[in-house]
Amino acid sequence: MRIPFISMFMASPFEGLLEHAEKIKECTWAFQQAIECHITDQCESFEEFRKNVDIFESEADAIKRRIRGHLPKGTLMPVDKFELFRYLHEQDKVLDAVEEALDWISFRSEPGIPNALHKDFFLLVDAVLDPVEEMCRMVAEARKYFTNFSEKQRRLVKDIIHVLRQQEHEADKVEDEIKAKVMNMQIDPVTVFHMIRLAETIGSIADHSENAGDMMRAMMAR
């Protein structure tokens, strides 16, 4: 038996949003390990890391469905429900990009990434991990903003979104460098295609983080 008055209050979607973002962060760490493992060649456990990422992905999916499933019509929130779903969708795409990148590698695990590109891919992975961590911080700070509505907090979140944009831009630059380099290498066309597409997929992790930031900006609009 519940107390009637309290049944008006329901689980906060922001709680879930934060949980989802944290899950993505963990997932990208596993992703980094998997990529490093793949590049360093002597590593046998790439498939294991990939499975780990898959597990994280399905856990995050469950959180996503829980958020969506627990907001019936007529829920009052400080933000528009449609915007919240759009945000969640964008945040989820970060995860999809992570999974897709690993899948793409597994489609052609031999001969792997050419030696000349190893350093660039390490750089790229590092560059896309920054915005994901920033996104996580953004969700936590935004939640605080929606409780205290303070101007200071609002500025803080806006600054984070700004940082997100810059980090995405940095990741873009690394991605473009890889693409230019690959195009000018005298290697077989299948490897070129494989590398270009891989760089693009990894790069899209940062793109989606930035998009999530833009959606957050929309949610905070007065």
Binding site: R2, I3, F5, M8, F9, S12, E15, E151
Partner: protein
């Protein structure tokens, strides 16, 4: 019946305070229990008259036999309905259950003519007015807090500077409702303007005293200094709601009981039934017991992941509920704290102050508000008939 009131209504006064972590659940149960007893014993007595007399004409009570059966069936019917509602977790109003049950027995005993339809219309009006009014107040109150304090750079300093205004306003409402609503105020017999003046002065005094206390006990270094300020204020408003609830609701539980007691003792029913203090104490303790047992369930619900109110929100809700109850009583409407509290929460929700609140559940709540009177009336009729068979 009293147990049910305690179990059903404890959430109204204390949920926002507990939810906002202003006090622990144990403290809440304790305070609410004590204040309910105090409210019931010291300021609860007169309400019994209004409820018993207002809607059903006293003429039919001339026959003690009928009155005895009627009061008994009304009490049983209301208790049954409130128990059912508590079981189904629906926030019905105990006031309205009693009103409905009285109507049912009135119709059975004297036909439709004994019912005071104008009074009944007022009850129906209160279903709409009290939540809407409370909603508007809490909406405006919360928006004001956001505008004047939260968005500012030095929110804590602003909150402290404006705290006398908020405390004063709350104290003003509290003093006014004591002067208008309770027999304590009636014995002082002030006219409206004197009462307003007294409340204004007392409100101002309490406001500045409150500021001094808050300043002393609140740590300005903390991140959520504003909430800390409102936490202190909210403890006060929650206590008031509990006190008013005890005063207001004890009549529901023991009103009919008082009639029976009086009948058994004297064999007649006057237009007014003096309620002995021990009966009020009995009712108050019943409510307190209900609170004590329901407290555990509140704890469970708070423990699970639900959105809780922060102190600024809690204050807005409490303030709106208290103001609504005061104003409605001044207009002579039998309102319930439940209605006012529900309206208050929705007001803050509409203002975007709560992470998630279910607006839709209100339709369901409304339905049961509307159903309460006829349901209690029909139950009361049936019980009346059954009892008549025996006597």
């Amino acid at each position: 019946m009293a147990w049910n009131i305690g179990a059903n209504d404890v959430a109204n006064s204390m949920a926002s305070a507990v939810g906002a972590k202003a006090i622990t659940i144990r403290q809440a149960v304790f305070i609410a229990g004590i204040l309910n007893v105090v409210g019931a014993v010291f300021i609860g007595s007169h309400v019994t008259n209004t409820i018993r007399k207002g809607i059903v004409s006293t003429e039919i009570l001339a026959d003690p036999q009928v009155a005895l059966i009627g009061a008994l069936s009304a009490l049983l019917a209301a208790a049954l309905w409130v128990s059912y509602a508590t079981w189904k977790s629906l926030p019905v109003s105990t006031t309205h259950s009693i009103v409905g049950a009285m109507i049912g027995f009135g119709i059975m005993a004297g036909g439709f003519s004994v019912i005071n339809w104008a009074k009944l219309a007022a009850v129906v009006m209160s279903w709409i007015i009290s939540p809407v009014f409370s909603l508007v107040i809490s909406f405006l109150m919360f928006k004001t807090i956001v505008r004047l304090i939260l968005v500012k750079k030095d929110a804590f300093a602003k909150a402290l500077r404006l705290s006398p205004v908020f405390i004063g306003l709350a104290a003003f409402v509290v003093v006014l409702s004591f002067l208008f609503k309770t027999p304590l105020g009636k014995t002082l017999s002030m006219d409206t303007w004197t009462a307003l003046l007294v409340a204004l002065i007392l409100g101002g005094l309490v406001g500045f005293a409150g500021k001094a206390v808050i300043k002393k006990f609140t740590d300005s270094d903390e991140d959520d200094g504003t909430e800390q300020v409102f936490r202190k204020i909210q403890i006060g408003t929650s206590c008031y709601v509990a006190l008013a609830q005890g005063a207001n609701d004890v009549a529901n539980a023991i009103g009919p009981l008082a009639v029976i007691y009086f009948l058994v003792n004297t064999g007649t029913v006057g237009s007014k039934v003096p309620v002995p203090a021990w009966l009020l104490l009995f009712g108050g303790i019943g409510i307190a017991c209900g609170i004590g047992m329901a407290g555990h369930r509140v704890m469970e619900t708070i423990g699970t992941k639900i959105t809780t109110l922060t102190n600024t929100r809690g204050f807005a809700v409490d303030f709106a509920a208290a103001s609504t109850v005061l104003l409605a009583s001044k207009m002579g409407l039998p309102v319930s704290t439940t209605h006012a509290a529900v309206g208050g929460v929705l007001g803050v929700g509409l203002a975007g102050g709560i992470e998630a609140v279910n607006f839709r559940i209100v339709l369901q709540i409304m339905l049961y508000w509307v159903l309460t009177v006829p349901a209690a009336a029909v139950t009361s009729m049936i019980i009346f008939k059954i009892l008549q068979l025996f006597y």
